[in-house]
Amino acid sequence: MIRILLAGQGGQGVLSAGKMLAESGLWEGKEVSYLPAYGPEMRGGTANCSVIISDEEIASPLCNNPDVLIAMNGPSFHKFAPRVRSGGIVIVNGSLSDCYAGRDDISVYDIAANDIAMQAGDIRSANNVILGALCQITHIVKDKSIINCLNEKFVGKPALMEINARAFELGKAAVESGGER
């Protein structure tokens, strides 16, 4: 079982990234749960979601001590990094945050998601940069499953599909080129 906490600001695609992860897990025949928590604002408020992907029935849907934290901005990184379980993984959006967690029992990956997303063609694809990095680091779901989700999401919008698929690939590459701190 892997518990993933995705956190950031409303509008960064945190919830849709979480949903795609859960859908990918379901496609691969796993048990999944997706529990979002967000304020009343559409943009700008805090947004986070807990995604669990497991081979067995999922009891608690909460991720208070996640195995993996995805932090899309500085406040989310500093709020949740202390809660990551020892030995866990943190992927932080280096474009909007530092990457100093103040502990050495977790692996922190610094991925400049916003910059890479702009390179891919649209800053809104930053969430898929991070998903690319996540898949590269953890192999929790297959790349193909995420790409399937993207295809479903952007059906009839080939230009957006291309940008987001590129963002996903660049996210994977960013891990290879030494994202780990």
Binding site: E23, E31, V32, L35, L62
Partner: protein, 356 residues
């Protein structure tokens, strides 16, 4: 049928539609807006009616009318909105009209907050509105159950002519999980209602009424209602028992909270403490029999709620003083984690062993 990823709210809607619900009346309130949203799209597709009413009071009275005409009807709201509906719910109960009311609970009292809570247990299970009445109350713990229990609610409500409530915490409203949907039930398969005011001119005159002015008529009516509630209590108690057989400490909770309790019970077992979980699925009727059985063997009980202690009263009545019953609760929209429950369970067991 393959499983699909659904929101708890969507699962509620599918459970309703697939068991013949063809009328939905609602008024927006967070965290259940996805119910009317989904219904507004999907009701017309099955030839049903969707109305966004001008208020909660209007919505429940539309249910009163539609269900009185024999249609399977539903309304949905969240805590403050459910309070507004209480007058209508009491009337519907007195007139003995089956329908389903969904309450996706948020934190109260007052307008409160939009985060998950379970503070409406008393309101749901003890009547809620005025007068001597009860609802059948079902508490889902997953998106799958949100679908299955809503499906079941329509059948139970029709069978006993008692309105049914789906009492879900805010997490059920937001969680997305794989759901296997039941097949669409043809309307012809749903039993005919020989009491409905459906325009059967020339037949027996049918009246649905909640005004019974004569004392000598109202008392037998209320007594008949009570007889039905007793029958429901005898036949319809449902609960999930998890690792109960050898449990020293029985943790008990309903809805999503019960799932956190299950994780806590697993952790406790790893530490050598035999813990089990009783999760009531029906809150009315309360599954007392399960607690009576568990009280024979267990040393202590711990009730966990997103409130300051409501279901714990029913647990204490069922355990009936045989074993100590402790309580742990959070409010305001905060959800306890597994570790808090583990700690509370250990201390409940320790207190029981010290005889406090």
């Amino acid at each position: 049928m393959a499983k699909i990823l659904l929101h708890g709210t969507e699962a509620i809607c599918e459970g309703a539609i697939r068991n013949g619900c063809r009328a939905f009346f609602g008024y927006p309130i967070t965290p259940q807006n996805e119910v009317p949203e989904y219904m507004s799209v999907n009701m017309p597709k099955v030839g049903g009616v969707f109305v966004q009413a001008e208020s909660e009071v209007a919505a429940i009275n539309m249910v009163y009318g539609a269900a009185g005409a024999g249609v399977r009807a539903m309304t949905s709201s969240s805590s403050p909105g459910i309070s507004l509906k209480q007058e209508g719910i009491s009337y519907i109960s007195c007139a003995r009209i089956p329908c389903v009311i969904v309450n996706v609970m948020r934190a109260g009292p007052g307008l409160g907050g939009i985060l998950p809570a379970q503070g409406d247990y008393f309101q749901a299970t003890k009547g809620g509105g005025h007068g001597d009445y009860h609802l059948i109350v079902l508490a889902p713990c997953s998106a799958q159950e949100a679908c299955d229990l809503t499906y079941l609610a329509f059948d139970l409500s029709d069978k006993y002519r008692v309105p049914a409530m789906i009492l879900a915490d805010g997490m059920i409203g937001q969680i997305m999980e794989p759901v296997e949907l039941p097949p669409m039930r043809p309307l012809s398969d749903i039993p005919k209602k020989d009491w409905a005011t459906d325009g059967g001119y020339g037949k027996d005159r049918r009246v649905l009424n909640s005004l019974i002015i004569k004392a000598e008529e109202l008392e037998p009516h209320v007594n008949a209602l009570q007889k039905t509630y007793d029958e429901i209590a005898a036949n319809e108690q449902r609960c999930e028992e998890y690792m109960i057989k050898d449990a020293e400490i029985v943790i008990t909770a309903y809805g999503t909270v019960a799932r956190i309790c299950k994780s806590a019970a697993k952790t406790l077992r790893k530490e050598g403490i035999k813990a089990g979980v009783i999760r009531p699925v029906t809150l009315f009727p309360f599954p007392s029999k399960a607690y009576e059985r568990a009280a024979e063997k267990a040393e202590a009980f711990l009730t966990v709620e997103l409130s300051l202690g409501q279901m714990v009263e029913d647990v204490r009545l069922a355990v009936n003083g045989k074993k100590p019953v402790s309580f742990y609760g959070r409010t305001g929209g905060n959800v306890m984690d597994e570790e808090e429950i583990v700690r509370a369970a250990k201390s409940a067991l320790a207190r029981a062993r010290e005889g406090k």
